[in-house]
Symmetry: C2
Subunit: 434 residues, 2 copies
Amino acid sequence: MSYQKELKLFELEALHPADAADELQRMEPERARNALIHLSKSQAGEILAEMEEDYATGLLDIMETGDLVPMLSELPANEVADLIPEMDEEKQSQVLSNLSIEDSEPVNALLKYEPDTAGGIMSDQFVSVRAEDTLEDGLKQIRAKAFDLENHLTYLYVIDEKQRLVGVVPLRALIFRNPATKVSEVMNNEVRFLRVTDDQEEIARQFEHYHYLGLPVLDQEDVLIGIVHVSDVLSLAQAEATEDMQLMVGLPGEERVHTPWLISLKRRSPWLLVNLLTTFFAAAVIGVFESTIAQWTALAVFLPIIAGQGGNAGMQTLTVVIRDMALGELSRGDGGRALSKEILLGVAHGLAIGTLVGLVGYIWKGDMMLGIIAAAAMLLNLVAAAISGIAIPFGLKSLKVDPALASSIFLTTVTDVAGFFFFLGLAYLALNFI
Amino acid sequence: MSYQKELKLFELEALHPADAADELQRMEPERARNALIHLSKSQAGEILAEMEEDYATGLLDIMETGDLVPMLSELPANEVADLIPEMDEEKQSQVLSNLSIEDSEPVNALLKYEPDTAGGIMSDQFVSVRAEDTLEDGLKQIRAKAFDLENHLTYLYVIDEKQRLVGVVPLRALIFRNPATKVSEVMNNEVRFLRVTDDQEEIARQFEHYHYLGLPVLDQEDVLIGIVHVSDVLSLAQAEATEDMQLMVGLPGEERVHTPWLISLKRRSPWLLVNLLTTFFAAAVIGVFESTIAQWTALAVFLPIIAGQGGNAGMQTLTVVIRDMALGELSRGDGGRALSKEILLGVAHGLAIGTLVGLVGYIWKGDMMLGIIAAAAMLLNLVAAAISGIAIPFGLKSLKVDPALASSIFLTTVTDVAGFFFFLGLAYLALNFI
């Protein structure tokens, strides 16, 4: 490993926890652990919270429960709840039973929710008041909260006697209005909110679309249980984009360069095997036409041109569709519109590129028929590429699977199989019937 | 076009501007214009600000300056400055000269900055005080600002007599402290800031890494000129991710499904031509070995397996590296570490998949030598895929080009060319020397 710089403890102490986490992630987990246990508990906790999931998993594995618990008790409950699932089951129960009741209770409450839902990403720290309270009561509550609300205090949330959300008071009301004013006089009753089970991709869409700074999270009984902040949404939007890019090429689980190689191996192998299987389909098509190639070897030269061009054009279509789906820009009815646009583009590109390839084929090999066949196969394959670039993500979506999942593998299968079939099939017809 | 639903004006009026923009973008620009000019000026302006760039360009093209100016004067300067570059030059100068001086001056100031820098994305609306002021002075200023600061008021910014930023006062100080308190007593002098020329990708990285809610923007003389808010960063992070995904397959300019087809054609064609050129390299390799294939046609069947598998494995590597680069997780020295990890993975996958392919080759074609050659070529090509998945993005970066640019096109060229060369070259050796 090329990273040999020795990092001194006092240098680590001076860093922002996010930067310290970056430094530690470049070390073997044993060294990172030794550095962590020599830092203050609160700093060590903050650094743990900033680590990438894959690295944290390995590090938590080798840390003693006795070292971990004091670090975790310095963190807000939602950050502890994010770290717990990265431990093995034994350590999870050890840690949870060694935390004080005040610390473990809110963590256990948050652990009930799926990590990729509003419940999994929300913070449980907010200030709530009753409609009959005064603004002064709200101010008192803010002062009473020990945790760091500073950066995330945009609203006071108004709840009823059953903890149900009934309104919000913008913070500016606390600045402008007389503290004796009743909350009910200044609160806004039309409140946008999230359900605790809402999916994080949908949440990212809403925050971007409507420019929210934070949204309250309600359970099925409309009880206010947490807040999702825009700064957390930024991280998860980045994670979702990473996931989509990687899923397209058969890479589940948000891999990073620092992900240990054995984890990478386990994640990539299954999809490489799927890809292998699909290349056999393409090979089988060539196998069917083996005698055609034996008669006319020049055909083999054009196979990668027809297939490669279809693959690239199809990937352009696929990428646009998958990204639009992720950003929520595609509604019902847009599929048909997208399909006609892409077919139009496929025909336009097919005519231009097909003619070009046909000319090259004619000039290179001095064979007019070869040129015509290559041109026709190219046109047909670019249309097939356009159709599959639309059909694959919409198909996966209708199967309730992530539309990005291994989509580039499926797409290149279509463009290889179709490209070889059109090209060799036309050549077979030409050889036998012309 | 399949979207035939007639949208009534009163329905449009009831929508959030972002949703109204979505609806209008599904119409021909002429219809969208007719709808806009019947809405209130402020609503029409807000809808324009929410539109996708490609659509807005076409719509602004057909709108009368007389209709546009009153809509734009309802918008904050930074949103007008975002729309201006989407007009043709003639309309730009017409619009700017028809806006009132108070409206056009700040817009002209913002237009000096590149759109993808801090200056291009910042808002020019903030509250600044002097260190010798009292908190009460700050409160007065907030009340005096007519524009909507509500959602973006996290700090008061403290400037000196030359407008240079010297500190910040968190909003909570306004709530907790006596209004007669001097700003100098509560301000924080250690302020993180952006330079007006900072690149937006780097800004997105910083916001995600440090969880900022907003950062002040300074010019070269340390003068405070604007604020970048996290909610704007969310949009630009999404745009950067879209750009990277699309650039990889040779799609510049953030294309959407709703992008008019002629614009898509113009953007995609150049890179499809580049891809075509690169497939000729792969074809040329096959051309060199044409007589080998003529002697041993079964070879042709294995070409797509060797190349396709290399392409997919290489794309896995490439995607991880490009995403890590975009998220700023890669530092100097990480390149070597990434390379050794990927080569290790390439060898491991190559041994496993090579053996499998070799066995299939042997069983399918009953030819032991074919199996051995296929296995060896697969191993070599997966190592080539690993190396090029690292070398291409690092190489593009060292050329000061976006590391994503057409990288999948370059990668599949390498895996096609290398795969064909290894496989056919080994077959040639076997035919001639064994």
